[in-house]
């Protein structure tokens, strides 16, 4: 029988509160966590808003030494890992460490650490201090994003396959998909899979300002992330992390684990069209959805909910609406579709894993999270986007999709165990 990967534990550090339950409370209440940027002085930027996490690393359980060593994104990942492990109840001491794997996604790695150290080494940009002793000893760990996966591996003493997957904004979905693959092919029995990004620093804001991708709605920060709304004006940057404990389904059942969801299918395609542009037909995303449904041995009519990429750019929202119609035909008009980015913003590579966590929780709680701030539907986006209010709904199979720079399109199907 084919090995299947199931989610037995969820850890999250997301805007609106640290921890899985705080995250779900935000989503199910339809509250938004976007606000004026407080992490640095953003007054010189076009977009001055973000979905920030109120995160105190010491209160979250990290030692002073860990805090010094780790970039914020690594801190998120380790805290999420601990929560996910505790939630799953899995005892890793009972596993061969060589059968424990790690698959973490991140679009921009330790960008905050890199920028902070640049500022030190360049004396605020004024002069280059060639005395390398000005840099922190952890600078190399910031330079290589693999550190984020290594930190999770250290936390769980994993000796199996450990990887950092970095496919831009589909990193999170792709990293969970990679973890699923490791379980299915038999390379690992337990995988800590998820994604983290902490990109809220001047260089990130500046680079998205430069392409006017982010929302300049600085005066109404709490309502600035408006996917599928006619008045949307770009995405709102976010930060955060989700880590899942994946196990082989049979072994998880044998130990009586609580199973949130089965990862049933995954598909990835690329548009080979443009690094940032999307064709309006949604063809490659539709193909990724088809592959994910094939893997799950499901039909379009089996899909009960779509967790959309829903970034809140006009280009994206129309692209994926077309993709859903192309892949699911009539079913696209029947199922609820929502974007949690309306509440937690767009945390680049992390969001794909955060959205998979939301899907697993939605299956577990039988509730569809809403699309906040959706008051004036874009007439070209004519599906049921679950405006404003969460909805109780029978969910057996849900679809989560992501779309990112580089032209990457990914889709995952989760089913009720």
């Amino acid at each position: 029988m084919k090995r299947r990967a199931v989610v037995t534990g969820i850890g999250a550090v997301a805007p609106g509160g640290v921890g899985r339950e705080a995250f779900w409370d935000l989503l199910s209440a339809g509250r938004t966590a976007t606000r004026r940027i407080s992490m640095f002085d953003a007054s010189a930027f076009r977009s001055q808003i973000a979905a920030e996490v109120d995160f105190d690393p010491r209160a979250a359980g990290l030692s002073a030494r860990e805090v010094r060593r780790m970039d914020r994104g690594a801190q998120f990942a380790v805290v999420s890992t601990r929560e996910a492990l505790a939630d799953s109840g899995v005892d890793l001491a009972g596993f061969d460490p060589g059968r424990v794997g790690v698959s973490i996604g991140s679009a921009v790695g330790c960008t905050m650490g890199l920028e902070q150290e640049y500022e030190v080494l360049s004396n605020g940009g004024r002069e280059w201090l060639v005395d390398h002793s000005h840099g922190v000893p952890h600078l190399y760990g910031y330079m290589v994003p693999s550190t984020l996966a290594a930190e999770v591996a250290y936390e769980v003493a994993a000796e199996g396959t450990v990887a950092l997957i970095s496919t831009g904004c589909t990193s999170g979905l792709d990293a969970v998909g990679h973890g699923m693959q490791l379980i299915e092919e038999g390379s690992a029995d337990v995988v800590l899979a998820g994604a983290t990004d902490a990109p809220l620093s001047p260089i990130t804001s500046a680079c998205f300002d430069a392409i006017t991708a982010t929302s300049p709605n600085n005066d109404d920060a709490a309502h600035a992330s408006r996917p599928f709304d006619a008045r949307r004006d770009g995405f709102v940057l976010g930060e955060g992390c989700a880590v899942l404990v994946l196990e082989d389904e049979e072994a998880a059942r044998r130990r009586g684990a609580r199973i949130y969801a089965r990862l049933s299918g995954f598909g990835a395609r690329s548009n080979a069209f443009h690094m940032t542009g999307l064709k309006p037909d949604g063809r490659e995303m539709a193909e990724a959805i088809r592959v994910a449904l094939d893997g799950a041995e499901l039909n379009a009519s089996d899909v009960d909910y779509i967790n959309a990429h829903g970034s809140g750019t006009k280009q994206n929202d129309r692209h994926e609406t077309a993709a859903f119609k192309r892949a699911l035909k009539q079913r696209a008009y029947e199922v609820p579709v929502s974007s949690i980015k309306s509440m937690v913003g767009h945390s680049l590579g992390a969001i794909g894993a955060i959205e998979v966590a939301a899907c697993a929780l939605a299956l577990d709680r039988q509730v569809v999270p809403p699309t906040a701030n959706l008051h004036h539907p874009d007439p070209e986006c004519d599906l049921d986007y679950v405006p404003l209010v969460a909805r109780e709904h029978r969910l057996d199979a849900v679809l989560s999709v992501g779309s990112g720079f580089g032209g990457f399109q990914s889709a995952m199907v989760l089913t009720r165990p």
């Binding site: 000893p137 190399y140 994003p145 003493a157 092919e185 260089i203 500046a206 300002d209 395609r269």
Partner: protein, 414 residues
């Protein structure tokens, strides 16, 4: 031993090498066989004032003319190198891309640190002039997926693309992921990797890892397994490979086959457990259905750190016995190329298999007593080769091993 091409999920049919040893596969290979080093004093910026002044630079490469003009200002040098190497690899494979379904071609590259030099320049603009000076291309040049995205677009490859960041193990892990895809629905994957972080910020960041050699003499700066081993020399470049699912169409085109692969993560320094390298090599051999005696040559990771060298030598001795298999590390001619390093080792190993010659390791003269290896030195060693093991380790614990088998491409003139 698995000797049939049909059993292999991946054959390498094309390669594009851009390395300190040469721009172009044959130029690189001739330099390796001649023992000609690509390491020299850093010229890309003034290295005086830094404790490390040597690097393996790709001297003969300028993006202009080798990368589409529009893409030159949009991408970092790391991506320039990969775009040019990918063009060369696709041409070398002689594959007709138009004959393959677009969704069955993918790109999976390794990146260790993304567009470091591009990022440094944009941070300079940000801190010296302000946010509005940061250019529009920062968002697509700095991030680790830039190379895979650009190569996918350039060659119309719409399959499941990927980017693996496992520092210096990345080259093997990317090829390992390519093989996974070829076992699924993909028929061709452009893989391998490049890196280039030879700018002031890149060098300062690399210095922080504590593993760089501060030697001044290019011939004595990177001495793995030697009693004088004192770190490695950083380099830039790498190799892009075309991996295909074997079939009638690949006959006569394969440099070699990916017979086995395994990845592990070493935390012996933290946990007190045994290093994972020997176990990882054994798993790669098992995956290839090989026994140690089947392996004809080992391309070592060769960290040139006394502890890491000993760990590697002990693992090889544990699996193969002492002095039981020829071991080589041609990377002493290039320095360590990060995401490009293990990909280049795969390319060099495939050339060795093709031509039946083990390239020698230039530099080490007196091996440490705790490194009981048959390290091939002084001159290349000619002998028929069926298989090669490539070992790669990345900062923090990443550990990978790959078994390659000889292909059916005719030998070159050496």
């Amino acid at each position: 031993m698995n000797t049939s091409t049909a059993g292999a999920a991946a054959v390498i049919t094309g390669m594009g090498v851009i390395a300190p040893t040469g721009v172009g596969t044959e130029e690189h290979w001739q330099a390796v066989l001649a023992g000609k080093t690509g390491i020299g004093r850093i010229t890309r910026f003034d290295p005086s004032g830094y404790p490390v002044r040597l690097a393996g630079e790709v001297a003969g490469f300028t993006a202009k003319g080798q990368v589409p003009a529009r893409l030159v200002p949009q991408t970092d040098r790391w991506t320039h190198l990969a775009l040019a190497a990918a063009d060369a690899a696709v041409a070398d494979s002689a594959v007709d891309l138009a004959s393959l379904p677009e969704y069955e071609m993918a790109v999976v590259t390794a990146s260790s640190s993304g567009g470091t030099e591009f990022g440094q320049h944009e941070m300079e603009r940000l801190y010296q002039n302000g946010p509005s000076w940061v250019g529009a291309y920062q968002s697509i040049a700095w991030f680790y997926a830039a190379t895979t995205g650009q190569v996918s677009i350039r060659h119309g490859m719409r399959g499941p693309c990927g980017v693996v960041c496992t520092e210096q193990a990345g080259g093997l892990d990317a090829v390992g992921q390519a093989r996974r895809l070829l076992r699924g629905q993909s028929r061709l994957v452009v893989t391998g990797g490049t890196d280039s972080s030879l700018c002031p910020y890149g060098l300062v960041a690399q210095l922080a890892n504590g593993h760089l050699s501060s030697a001044e003499d290019a011939d004595r700066a990177y001495l793995p397994f030697d009693v004088e081993a004192a770190g490695y020399v950083p380099g830039e470049g790498g190799a892009i490979l075309v991996a295909e699912r074997p079939g009638p169409d690949t006959q006569g085109r394969a440099y070699g086959r990916v017979l086995g692969y395994a990845a592990g993560f070493d935390q012996s320094a933290r946990t007190g457990r045994r290093p994972v390298l020997a176990g990882t090599i054994r798993r790669a051999l098992d995956d290839a259905r090989c026994v140690p005696d089947d392996i004809d040559v080992v391309f070592a990771d060769a960290a040139a750190d006394p502890h890491l060298d000993r760990v590697e030598a002990e693992a090889l001795a544990e699996v193969f016995g002492t002095h039981a298999v020829p071991v080589t590390a041609p990377k002493t001619l290039t320095g360590r190329l990060y995401g490009g390093g293990a990909a280049l080792d795969v390319a060099t190993a495939l050339l060795a298999l093709r031509d039946g010659v083990v390239p020698h390791t230039v530099g080490p003269t007196r091996l440490r007593s705790d490194c009981p290896l048959d390290l091939v030195r002084d001159a290349p060693r000619e002998r028929p080769l069926r298989t090669a093991l490539v070992v790669a380790r990345g900062y923090g614990g990443f550990t990978s091993a790959m078994v390659l088998g000889r292909g059916d491409r005719p030998a070159g003139d050496i």
